[in-house]
Amino acid sequence: MTAANINFVAQRQSVIWLLLAQLVTLAPLLGVLPVWILAVWAFVALWYWRIVSAAWSFPARWIKACIALSTLGGVYFSFPSLFSLEAMVTILVLAVVLKLLELKTARDHWLILMLSYFIVACGLLFSQQIGALIMALLQIAVLLLAQQALQRRRAKTLPMLRVVGVMALQSLPLMLMLFVIFPRIGPLWTMPLPGGQATTGMSDSLEFGDIAKLSQSGALAFRVRFNGVMPASHDLYWRGLVLDDFDGRRWTRSSWSLWSNKMNPPVLAEPKLNYTVTLEPGSHKWLYTLPQAAVSRDDVYYSDQHLWLPARPITGRMQYTVSSNLGQGLVDNKALSRKNLSLGRAANPRAEALAAQWQTQWPDTQDRVAAAIRYFEQTPFIYTLTPPLLGESNVDEFLFDSRQGFCEHFAGSFVYLMRAAGVPARIVVGYQGGEFNDRDGYLLVNQSDAHAWAEVYIEGQGWLRVDPTATVAPNRIRLGAEAMLRDQEGYLGESPLSLRNYEWAKRLRYFVDNINYAWARWILNYDSGTQNDFLLRVLGDINPQRLMLVIMLAGGIPLCLAAFFSLRLPKRAGEDLAARYYLASCAALARKGVPRRAGETPDDYLRRVEAGHACWAAWLREQTRLFSLCSYLPQDSVSYQENLTSLKRARRPQKWLERSTSATGYTSK
C-alpha cells in the first residue's frame, strides 16, 4: 500500500483543516482523557502528514493492530474500570484518531468529521455549564469549516466562515423549537456519570477535620432565591443531614433510620418564608432547607429527623421550592431514640466527669445545656482551620489540652458532653450563612460555608439548635465564614479565586455567577414539568397536531427563506447595476410622458429631452453622464462605486429636483 493509493486528491488545505478539527475536538476533553492521548494524536497526525506529503506509506495491517492494541492497553491501565464513561469516550477518541492511518477516501474523511461531532456531544456529558456549550459551539464551527475545506477547491477562511454563520442562523429556529418541545425522557438506565466520587460536598459521616477540609474548597454548593426579605445571616442554618449515631470517633446517620423514617410533613404557621434552592449538579441524597420547612415536590419526603430527603437519589442539577417558618420548633411525634444518648465506645474520662458534675448540679436539662454553653464561652478555645491532630480520646484532648478546633470539634464535643450529661443531643451538618449576590439578588452558598452544629432535645420544646461555634467565634456566624477565615492559612487554599479580597474580583465573580445561575435556572432546569407548563401556557393545549405545526413552522421557515434566496430568477443577460438604475431613471421619465425608445442611445435620448422637455434636461444630463461613466468610459474602479451610488440615488427625477432646489448653492448647468 503506497501513498499513490490515496484515491482522492488529499488537498493540503483539507488535511490541515482535518488535523485542526481533530485537535480542537480533543483539546477540551483533555481534563477527562489521559494526557498520553495527545502524544498518540501528535504521532498519528505526523504520520498522516508524511503520507499526504508522499514521504511515508500507510502502515501495514499488523502495525495498525499493534498500535490499536497498545493504546487499548493504555486505556485499560489509565482507568480503574473500562466500563466508565471516561474510558468509553477515550476509546471513541482513540478510534477517531487512529482512523487517520486508514484515511484513503473522501468518505473516510467525512466519517472522521462526523464522529468528531459525536465526540463534541460527548463533551457535554462532562459539563453542561454555559462555558462548555460555548466551547462546543466553537468546536462545531471548526468542524463545519473542515467539512467545507474538504469540498471546496480553494479553502478561503472568510467565505467559509460566512457559510458557517448562515448555517448557524438557519438552524437556530429549529434548535430553539427542539429545545422547547423535544420530549424530556427520563434516564432509561443510569449512566455512570462522571465525578460522583470526586466533587466536594457533604458526606453522610463526620469525623474531626472533615468540614475543615471541605471549607478549603471554593466550589459552589447551591443558590437560593428568596421571595421577600432574606433573613439575617445568623439565622441561615441550612440543615442538610442529622448525625446521631456515634461509634466513639465517627458520627454517622443512624442506620435504622434509613427505612420507615417517614413522617407527615409539618403544618407551617404564618409567617412563611418562601424561597427556591438550586443545587449544583451531583448526586443528591438530601435537601438543604432552613428549619422548619415544607418542600413542594413529588419525589421527596419528610423524615422523622425533620429533613427532606429524595425518595431515590436525584442526579444532576436540582431545584426545589421551600416554605419555612424559622420560629417553629422541631417537635417529634414519636418516642425519642436511645441513640441520642449513646457515647459509643469512646473513652473520654475527663469530659464524662465534667458532664457528670453538671448532671448532679442541675436537675433541669435546660440548665445543663446552659452550663455547657457557658463552659464553651469561658474556656479559651481557638477557632482555627488547622487544628492539631487528636489522639484516641479526642474529645478530652480537644476540651482540655489543645483547645483548638473547627466547627465539627465544637459541635462534636458539645454533643458528647450533653449526651454524657444525659441530655439527648445530635449533630446537624449543613451550611451556615452564604454570600449575597446583590447584582441579581440571590444567595450563593459555597462549600466553604459548610458547618456543623448541635441540637439538643428539650422536653416540650423539641429539638433546639445550639451552635457552640457561635459562642466561641461569634464572627463566624455573624459575618460568615469568609470574613472570619479570610486570613487563615488553608481557607480556600484549593480555590484559584484567592482574589476574594478585591472588590472588582468579587463583582466579576458575581457577574459570572449570575450568568451561570440564569443558565441553570432557564436552560438546564427545563425538565419535563417546566416543559409541560410552558407548552400549556403557549399552545393552550398539548396535542400532536399543534406540536407538529410548531416543528414544521420552525423547520419550514428557514427552508422557505433559503429557497426564496436561492431560487431567484436568473438575471437577464448582461444585466448590470448601472444599466438597471439608468433604465429605472428612464422609466421614471417615461411616467412623466417622455419614454425612451428601445433603440435610442442615452445621448440621443438626452438630446430629445433637451429639445422638447427642458425641465428634465438637467437631471437626465447628470444621469446620462453618470451612466456613461459607469458603462462606457474607461473603467476607474475608484469612482465607479461612487457614480453608481449617485446614479441609484437620483433615479427619481421629482425627488432629485426637490433635493437640488432645496440644496444651497446648486446652479443648473
Binding site: D576, T601, Q635
Partner: protein, 309 residues
C-alpha cells in the same frame, strides 16, 4: 489621444471638403474606414463625385496611388502583374501590376467579370498577393477604394457576397444638396482644385493613427450591444441570413475609428449606430422581396434592438 492627431484628422476632412462639397459625413466615413484598416466601396450612379472623392483622398493622405478602370474584358493578370522572360539574364522577371501600391482606386469594380474581381480577394483580405507560387506582400498601409454603379445599370456584374464582405464599409454619396451643387456649378471644374490639395498625411502617420484606434476602449456594455445587434439579424425573420462574426468585428473596429474621429478614447453606442449602416448594409439581405433593402433593414435593426438592458 494626442490633440495634434485630432487636428490633423480635422484638417484632412477640411482639405477633402474643398473638392467634395457638402459631403462631410461621407468624407468622415471614408476616413474612418482608412483608420480602421478597411477597404471602402462607394456605390452610386455615375457623375456624383465618386472618383473625385477618391482622388482627393489619395492626394491628401499622401499615399502611393494607382487607379484602375475595371472593364468587362479585364483579366486578373492585368491587375496582379506578369512574369516576363528576360533574354539577357535568361530568367523570368516579375512585373508587378497596379495592385502593388498603397492606395488603390478601383473604378467601376462591378464592370469586371467575377473572375477578375476575385483576383482582388486575397490582396484585400490578407494584404498579400500569390502569383505563380510566390507570395508577395503588399506595401503598408494598404487601402482599396472601389466605386461601383448600382446593379440595375447596364453592363454590371453583381459583386459576389464574399467580395462584398471584404469591404469594411459601403457608402453612397447621393446627389449634392442645392447649395453645394450651385457652388460646384459656379466654381467650374473641381478637378482644377484637386491638384492644389496638400498631402497632410503619409504612410507612417496613417499607421500611427491606425495603431491609436486599437487603443480605444470598448466596454462590455457596448460589446453586448453589438452582440444583441448581430443576434437580432440571426433570429429575426426579415433577414435572409445573420451578420457574420467578421461583420461584428468590423462594426467594433469602425466604431473605434469613429470615436477617435470624434475625439473620444472610448466607444459609445452612438458610434455603433452611426457606423452600422455603412458597415452592415451591404452584408444584409432581406429574406423576401418587398421587405426593403439594406437601409430599411438597418433602420429596423436600430429601432428594435435595445441599447441599454
Amino acid at each position: 489621444m494626442p490633440s495634434d492627431q485630432l487636428a490633423v484628422l480635422a484638417a484632412v476632412s477640411d482639405e477633402i471638403g474643398r473638392v467634395v462639397l457638402g459631403k462631410d459625413r461621407q468624407v468622415q466615413q471614408a476616413l474612418c474606414c482608412l483608420l480602421a484598416r478597411g477597404h471602402l466601396l462607394i456605390e452610386d450612379v455615375p457623375g456624383v463625385g465618386k472618383t473625385t472623392l477618391s482622388q482627393a483622398f489619395a492626394r491628401v493622405t499622401g499615399l502611393d496611388y494607382q487607379r484602375m478602370q475595371f472593364t468587362s474584358d479585364l483579366l486578373p493578370a492585368d491587375i496582379l502583374g506578369v512574369s516576363v522572360f528576360d533574354r539577357n539574364s535568361n530568367a523570368f522577371h516579375f512585373h508587378p501590376g497596379p495592385i502593388f501600391t498603397q492606395f488603390l482606386l478601383v473604378d467601376e469594380i462591378n464592370r469586371a467579370s467575377p473572375k477578375t474581381q476575385s483576383a482582388l480577394l486575397e490582396a484585400m483580405a490578407e494584404q498579400q498577393v500569390s502569383i505563380e507560387g510566390e507570395t508577395r506582400p503588399l506595401p503598408q498601409p494598404y487601402f482599396v477604394m472601389a466605386t461601383q454603379n448600382p446593379w440595375f445599370q447596364s453592363g454590371t456584374f453583381p459583386l459576389p457576397e464574399s467580395q462584398l464582405d471584404r469591404f469594411l464599409m459601403r457608402i453612397s454619396l447621393g446627389y449634392p444638396d442645392e447649395r453645394s451643387e450651385r457652388r460646384l456649378l459656379a466654381g467650374g471644374d473641381p478637378r482644377a482644385v484637386l491638384s492644389q490639395l496638400r498631402a497632410l498625411l503619409n504612410a507612417e502617420k496613417i499607421i500611427a493613427l491606425q495603431n491609436a484606434v486599437d487603443a480605444i476602449e470598448v466596454r462590455d456594455s457596448v460589446l453586448s450591444y453589438v452582440q444583441r445587434l448581430i443576434g437580432f439579424t440571426r433570429q429575426d425573420s426579415h433577414y435572409a441570413f445573420g451578420l457574420s462574426t467578421r461583420a461584428a468585428l468590423a462594426l467594433i473596429q469602425c466604431a473605434k475609428a469613429w470615436a477617435m474621429l470624434q475625439g473620444r478614447d472610448y466607444v459609445l453606442p452612438d458610434d455603433i449606430q452611426l457606423v452600422l449602416e455603412p458597415v452592415a448594409a451591404h452584408r444584409l439581405k432581406a429574406a423576401a422581396d418587398g421587405q426593403g433593402d439594406g437601409p430599411d433593414l438597418i433602420k429596423r435593426l436600430l429601432s428594435q434592438v435595445p441599447v441599454v438592458v
